[in-house]
């Protein structure tokens, strides 16, 4: 079932949790809502569940206005961050709860419970109480309970945040598998960008109650539309400067590192405009040979720090008196770059993104 937010706002007293939020979520998709703590993503999911009322705007399920439908009648399944399993009920009783409220025959109920237990690999835990289960099992019971009522929409509120790293990675694959099997429109809330980038087909990034960008993980990483996004997703080098020259195919930005040739940004292409350049550490190419070049984007540097991560190496390259860049390079052991070595950094023009400086108009 497709979901549409139409200019939805939500405030608590004077605090604006969500402002003027519009988003279309495709039917049967696995859509991620990603953002830092307090950005409003949990509020959005609670609005979808009917646990909160929107202050203004509309919410459409399959094109039908669902804004005023009470939670009990929405047909939405939800997995809470803390799972919200009822400790006084066994796994089976937890899972049956929603089915008991829908007047269906005992056979049908038993069949559905067995199906979800099988789907979630919980057959052996049927009679156990939540307190007797591991974190991963509890998470699956919560999922089974939400799936048992055959929801049209499944809401997952940071479902993996209480698990350890290993279990989290197992559960990621498992959730993808469940989604592929059930094809239920699923909204997945997380603050973990790795989770969103690795699992999502479509990700919406929020900050301060506003939608910043929706796109595929690759689009968000490589084509961020704002400085916040460039900083929030992945690591990046930020270089402040102002536009010195503009041309039809690019701009020259004066920075502490020197003049840098960047792609043209139509909205900012104005001489004197303060800008911030962003370039990913892995996009910078380095070579040991010092090259005194007047060519733009080729910068002589000196290595001031190296951090070894196993598969890759992070170099800190000092440029000029104050400039500094972080560089990630694949580590093969073939060419060592010792501390203090003179190197050359190359910043490919196509990899540089130009944003307005924070606070600048």
């Amino acid at each position: 079932m497709q979901i549409d937010f139409e200019n939805v706002s939500k405030h608590y007293g004077s605090f604006q949790a969500i402002s003027n939020f519009s988003l279309h979520i495709k039917s049967a998709s696995l859509h991620f809502l990603l953002g830092p703590s307090g950005c409003g993503k949990t509020t959005l999911i609670r609005l979808l569940a009917g646990l909160e009322d929107a202050s203004s705007g509309r919410l459409l399920f399959g094109g039908q206005d669902a804004t005023a439908i009470p939670p009990a009648a929405r047909g939405v399944g939800m997995v809470f961050q803390n799972y919200a399993l009822w400790p006084h009920m066994s796994c089976q009783e937890n899972i049956e709860y929603g089915l008991n409220l829908r007047k269906i025959s005992r056979e049908e109920k038993n069949q559905k419970v067995s199906e979800v237990l099988k789907l979630t690999h919980l057959e052996e835990c049927r009679r156990k109480y939540p307190g007797q289960l591991s974190g991963g099992q509890q998470q699956r019971v919560a999922l089974a309970r939400a799936l048992a009522i055959e929801p049209k929409i499944l809401l997952l509120d940071e479902p993996l945040s209480n698990l350890d790293a290993k279990l989290r990675s197992e559960m990621r694959e498992y959730l993808l598998e469940i989604h592929a099997k059930t094809q239920i429109t699923t909204i997945y809330v997380t603050h973990d960008q790795r989770e969103a980038l690795s699992m999502g087909t479509e990700v919406s990034v929020l900050n301060r109650g506003q939608l910043l960008q929706t796109g595929t993980p690759k689009e968000l990483y490589h084509e961020p539309t704002s400085l916040f996004l460039a900083k929030f997703i992945g690591e990046t080098n930020l270089i402040d400067g102002f536009i010195d020259k503009t041309a039809s195919d690019g701009m020259i930005v004066k920075t502490t590192l020197g003049n840098i040739n960047t792609p043209r940004n139509e909205t900012l292409a104005k001489i004197g405009q303060p800008v911030t350049l962003s370039i990913r550490p892995e996009a910078i190419a380095v070579s040991l040979k010092e090259k005194n070049s007047d060519e733009l984007n080729i910068l002589p540097a000196q290595i001031t720090n190296t951090v070894f991560f196993g598969d890759m190496e992070q170099l800190t390259a000092k440029i000029g008196k104050e400039g500094q860049l972080k560089v990630h390079r694949c580590y093969t052991g073939a060419s060592e770059m010792p501390l203090g070595a003179a190197i050359t950094c190359f910043l490919p023009k196509a990899q540089i993104r130009v944003f307005a400086q924070e606070g600048a108009t």
């Binding site: 609670r46 569940a49 009917g50 939405v76 961050q81 803390n82 006084h88 709860y97 939540p130 009522i149």
Partner: protein, 570 residues
């Protein structure tokens, strides 16, 4: 994030909820605010309905009232000081040192708090009678040759202070313990590293940071001692405000002095709480690094340990002796001119069942307490649910309102009922049943609301929300999720309510005026006043009361001792 601070404000607040809240507020208005309000108005109005302060000036001119007021202040002050003298060192020792039997002593120290001082007063008369156990023991050891008249009217003040102290010191002890427990040991360690001696550390750190707890506890002790009716009444020390008010109940309509005295009591209570709040605010410091406060217990030398154990034993013996004496008296067949009874048996317990007034007392108290407790369970859970889930715009107001009975002493409320409802269909002189139930339930309602709120606040909101998303209504969710998961708290609260209602003193003594309506405590009082075997029957009846209390509290500790999850597991 789902937290208790988040409103569940989906859909409109049902009309039924407003109606239920309106009923609760009306109930509290008629049986809490109105009685106090009427007294206030009557105390400030002359016969023509004009504003006057003449009754207060009459108090000022009446030596007997002035003496009573001065005595009550003296009693409250002395009780507070002696409670502090016991509680502070005790809390300091128990929070810092480990010694044998500490856990058991810590539990037993709370026993005097729950044992009724009213019954202790009966016991103290037995112990300190001219030919009572204490005198006989002192004579036997050879300390005295002539019997001392401990209970002479000149000594009664000291006896009441002693009884109030042994009853109330655990309140201060608990408050100081909590305050000391919150002091991070590293603060003391930092001073120690800098070279501060134990005494200096105590003076500069512990004393300073524990003061808010002391003020909070001291104000409660002060107010309790000031307004207690049962203990002075049974000890025979009548020159104090509480007993004066009790005496004025019957002539409330014709003698306006009672109103003025009640207002005075309310003013003292209010001043005491406001002062304590002010001192609390002045002396409390925000903790900078409030992390995990690790408890560090020091190991004491063997001699010191011995002193600690002995101090605990002496304190407990003193504190529990009156109650123990009641228990012994209830079994004594022959106890005359000897330290302990020479014959024991169950005659008094058998006689209770032949004495109409004791049967009436037990029956009435059981029935009244059960009904009052049921009312508290329903109201308490309902109010706690509304307040913790912020279901109404005025949830906080409701919360404040139900906590008011904590600040209104029993004698004030009972006096207010007599004033307000005499000559109406609720006249306590005709039949006090309804007003007794209402008084019992209102006075214990704050405890029930607190108990249910504690359970509901610990219950993650998402447990209820999960139920809503699966299609359950609010009422079904309360029935299936919230109630079963907070049942242990509600049950514990209910048992507390029941036990304390069974042994309620001020409402029972003031409101039940005819024999057939006497609750347990008034029956004990009536039997106690009887010459001859009455005193022993009162002891037997008092022991039954203590037994009920002991059973109830054991039940609570069993229920609360089990973890919530385990309680519901098969």
């Amino acid at each position: 994030m789902a937290s208790s601070a988040v409103f569940i404000q989906n859909k409109k607040t049902p009309l039924l909820l407003y109606a239920a809240s309106a009923l609760i507020i009306l109930f509290l208005f008629f049986f809490l605010l109105l009685p106090v309000g009427v007294i206030l108005i009557k105390a400030l109005q002359d016969e023509e309905g004009q504003f006057t302060l003449q009754y207060f000036s009459l108090i000022w001119q009446n030596e007997s009232y002035l003496l009573a007021i001065a005595n009550s202040f003296k009693l409250a002050a002395m009780t507070t000081i002696s409670c502090l003298a016991i509680s502070f060192p005790l809390a300091l020792i128990n929070s810092r040192f480990s010694y044998p039997g500490k856990k058991i002593f810590s539990v037993l120290l709370l026993a005097p708090l729950v044992l009724p001082p009213f019954v202790a007063a009966v016991g103290i008369n037995k112990l300190f009678a001219k030919f009572g156990a204490v005198n006989l023991m002192l004579q036997e050891i050879g300390i005295i040759s002539e019997m001392i008249d401990w209970m002479h009217s000149d000594n009664l003040f000291a006896v009441v202070v002693l009884l109030e102290t042994i009853h109330l010191f655990p309140i201060l002890y608990l408050n100081i313990m909590a305050a000391i427990a919150n002091i991070d040991p590293s603060l003391e360690e930092a001073a120690s590293i800098l070279g501060a001696s134990r005494l200096k550390r105590f003076r500069d750190i512990i004393w300073y940071l524990a003061r808010p707890g002391i003020f909070a506890g001291a104000s409660i002790v002060f107010v309790f001692a000031f307004t207690d009716l049962g203990t002075p009444l049974l000890t025979g020390w009548t020159d104090n405000v509480a007993v004066k008010i009790f005496d004025l109940v019957t002539s409330a309509a014709s003698n306006p002095m009672g109103y003025a005295l009640v207002i005075l009591v309310l003013a003292v209570v209010a001043t005491s709480f406001v002062t304590s709040r002010f001192l609390y605010a002045r002396t409390s410091y925000p903790t900078l690094a409030k992390g995990h406060v690790q408890k560090i217990e020091e190991k004491a030398s063997s001699a010191t340990k011995m002193i600690f154990v002995l101090a605990n034993i002496i304190l407990l013996t003193l504190a529990l002796a009156p109650h123990l004496s009641v228990l012994i008296a209830s079994f004594s067949e022959k106890w005359f001119m000897t330290i302990l009874p020479t014959e024991i048996g169950l005659n008094h317990y058998r006689d209770i069942w032949q004495e109409p007034i004791s049967i009436i007392g037990i029956k009435n108290s059981l029935a009244l307490s059960v009904v009052a407790t049921l009312i508290d369970m329903v109201l308490g859970f309902g109010i706690a649910f509304i307040v913790t889930r912020k279901l109404l715009p005025f949830s906080n107001f409701l919360d404040g309102l139900v906590m008011l009975p904590l600040a209104i002493p029993g004698i004030v409320l009972a006096f207010g009922y007599v004033v307000c409802y005499t000559d109406t269909f609720l006249d306590p002189l005709n039949n006090p049943t309804f007003l007794l139930i209402v008084a019992y339930s209102i006075r214990r309602l704050p405890f029930m609301v607190r108990a249910a709120s504690a359970g509901l606040s610990q219950l993650s909101l998402s447990l209820e929300e999960a139920s809503y998303t699966l299609g359950a209504s609010k009422s079904l969710t309360i029935y299936k999720i919230s109630l079963p998961l907070t049942f242990a708290n509600i049950l514990a609260g209910a048992i507390f309510c029941f036990a304390f209602t069974m042994l309620d003193v001020s409402d029972s003594l003031i409101l039940a005026m005819k024999d057939r309506f006497y609750p347990l405590t008034k029956a004990i009082y009536a039997l106690y006043l009887e010459q001859g075997r009455g005193e022993n029957l009162a002891c037997a009846l008092g022991s039954i009361g203590m037994l009920i209390l002991a059973l109830a509290l054991s039940l609570v500790s069993i229920i609360l001792g089990k973890k919530m999850g385990e309680l519901f597991r098969g």
